[in-house]
């Protein structure tokens, strides 16, 4: 008996101006799982999660998220899917509290503003304007806004890139509490320690294809490596550079 799937993609393809970015990606992600997408730059990670989130239209292939079509059923999916985008800024003259108040008004049953800011430890900065927050605080607020609507599925793209160790650990704790609530988390990451610690399963992407998909331990074992980072390097043939995605 297989578990219920939250996300299913079948043979997804996408190219930009003749360059193939996603080249036939099929993934099954179980409900309640924390699923990591890893890969070197240009592997098609962000494009893949954006197609799952209905922000980009695949050239071919199918996506089903909780039984919904991300583009056709867009407005239904938006109720239950929280997305944190890699590069999006927010209204930067508004304070953290004002931004949470704004985003929570979009959802029928949102978390309270206090709870939302508390999830990412920003209650003390609630009256600070977005533009005055540090990079890490902006990143955490952005994660909080993806969670404010009590989503059943969260997509997080590079949430801890450029964060200091304390800030990273805080976000990890937040993600672990989401898992306890049964939320399905799909995360794109460059940080192997993060993926190793948080993810139930990982898909390793390169050149728009899935190179391997397994538990972090399974992938490490498959590559005959001692940890995920070594496995990544040996499977993709790429070195990992600190902050390369920043």
């Amino acid at each position: 008996m297989t578990k219920e799937l939250a996300i299913e993609t079948t043979n997804l393809r996408k190219s930009y101006k003749g360059r193939t970015v996603v080249d036939g990606i099929s993934l099954d992600i179980e409900r309640g799982a924390t699923f990591g997408i890893l890969g070197p730059n240009g592997a098609g990670k962000t494009t893949t999660v954006e197609m799952i989130g209905g922000l980009r239209k695949p050239d071919s292939g199918a996506v089903s998220v909780l039984g919904l079509h991300p583009i056709r059923d867009r407005s239904r999916l938006r109720q239950v899917l929280g997305i944190q985008l890699q590069s999006a800024l927010l209204h930067d003259a508004l304070t953290a509290k004002e931004l949470v108040d704004l985003y929570r008004s979009f959802y029928p049953n949102p978390r309270s503003t206090k709870e939302t800011l508390g999830l990412v430890h920003l209650n003390e900065q609630r009256n600070t304007k977005f533009q005055k927050l540090s990079g890490g605080q902006q990143q955490r607020l952005s994660v909080a806004l993806a969670l404010v609507g009590r989503p059943e599925i969260v997509i997080l793209d590079e949430i801890t890139t450029g964060l200091d160790p304390t800030a990273r650990r805080r976000i990890w704790a937040t993600l672990e509490s989401l898992r306890d609530e049964g939320v399905t988390v799909l995360m794109v990451s460059h940080a192997m320690d993060e993926v190793e610690r948080l993810c139930d399963r990982v898909a390793l992407l390169k050149d728009g294809r899935v190179l391997a998909e397994d538990t972090p331990a399974g992938i490490t074992q498959m590559a005959e490596a001692t940890n995920l980072e070594e496995a990544f390097v040996s499977l993709t043939g790429t070195e990992i550079f600190e902050g390369e995605a920043a």
Binding site: L5, I7, L66, G67, L68, R78, I83, L90, A93
Partner: protein, 259 residues
């Protein structure tokens, strides 16, 4: 297949959400002093510097002076032109470039809500600008009340729609925020200069005078002057404004991008 979840129903944000978004846009504008004060201050400056010269010269028999014929129409047009050509496109292209519209598109809200809220907030700012200019005109320069307040209100509405329309054209065509600002400044100063913003169209060379009445700024101030002083409204005062508004709808539909 993932199982279809019948409990998920689409729900657009309601009036409360609209209210919060409009308030957020208003706060953003209120904290951006240049965009808040310039569209109020620049027209006032023109009003103060040209009013005292103009208000004594009587034109016609209804008591209207050059103040109502030239100064006030230019000043009112400036308020809408500044907000339409500079404030709105700058904000929209910034929101697009920074990913704010895209981020909102990932929530149940639609980026269209931001566009509408921007228009509402800028309309409010325009009304403040108009109220300020009119108060100063009546209190300090003995302005004569309009021949038909209703006609002036109608003219103001048409001017506002056409100036916002030009702003939407800028926001649709400018690829970056800097391009939007540059295009906005060129259009504001260029159309303004041809429309008499720098001291009356009579100082312009003859061919430019001829052209200027068919351009939105000149047509707008002619229309406001005619409705205020009870002169007949000519098609040339209406057509450029309607064309600008109509073109903006077509160009926005064809070229405006949310991201």
């Amino acid at each position: 297949m993932t199982t279809t979840q019948s409990h998920i129903t689409a729900r657009r944000p309601g009036p409360r959400s609209w209210g919060i978004l409009i308030k957020s846009e208003a706060k953003t504008l209120a904290r951006d002093y240049a965009s808040l004060l310039l569209p109020l201050g620049l027209p006032l400056l023109v009003l103060l510097t040209s009013a005292s010269m103009a208000s004594s010269e009587a034109i016609g028999t209804d008591g209207f002076t050059a103040f109502e014929f030239y100064v006030l129409p230019i000043v009112l047009t400036m308020v809408f032109a500044y907000i339409g050509m500079l404030n709105m496109p700058t904000y929209l292209s910034y929101y697009r470039k920074s990913g704010i519209l895209r981020r909102l598109g990932a929530t149940p809200a639609s980026p269209m809500m931001v566009l509408v809220s921007q228009i509402v907030v800028n309309a409010l700012l325009s009304l403040i600008g108009i109220a300020l200019a009119l108060s100063v005109s009546f209190v300090f320069f003995d302005a004569v009340a309009p021949a038909s307040a209703l006609a002036v209100a109608g003219a103001i509405l048409l001017v506002m729609v056409s100036m916002y329309g030009i702003g939407m054209i800028i926001a649709s065509l400018a690829p970056t925020m800097n391009a939007a600002i540059a295009l906005g400044i060129i259009l504001f100063l260029g159309l303004g200069a041809l429309g008499g913003m720098f001291g009356g169209r009579s100082i312009l060379p003859e061919p430019l005078q001829e052209v200027s009445q068919y351009l939105p700024f000149g047509a707008a101030s002619d229309l406001l002057a005619a409705t205020w002083t009870g002169q007949p409204v000519e098609p040339t005062m209406i057509i450029p404004l309607v064309v600008a508004a109509g073109a903006s709808v077509l160009i926005s539909l064809a070229f405006f991008r949310w991201e």
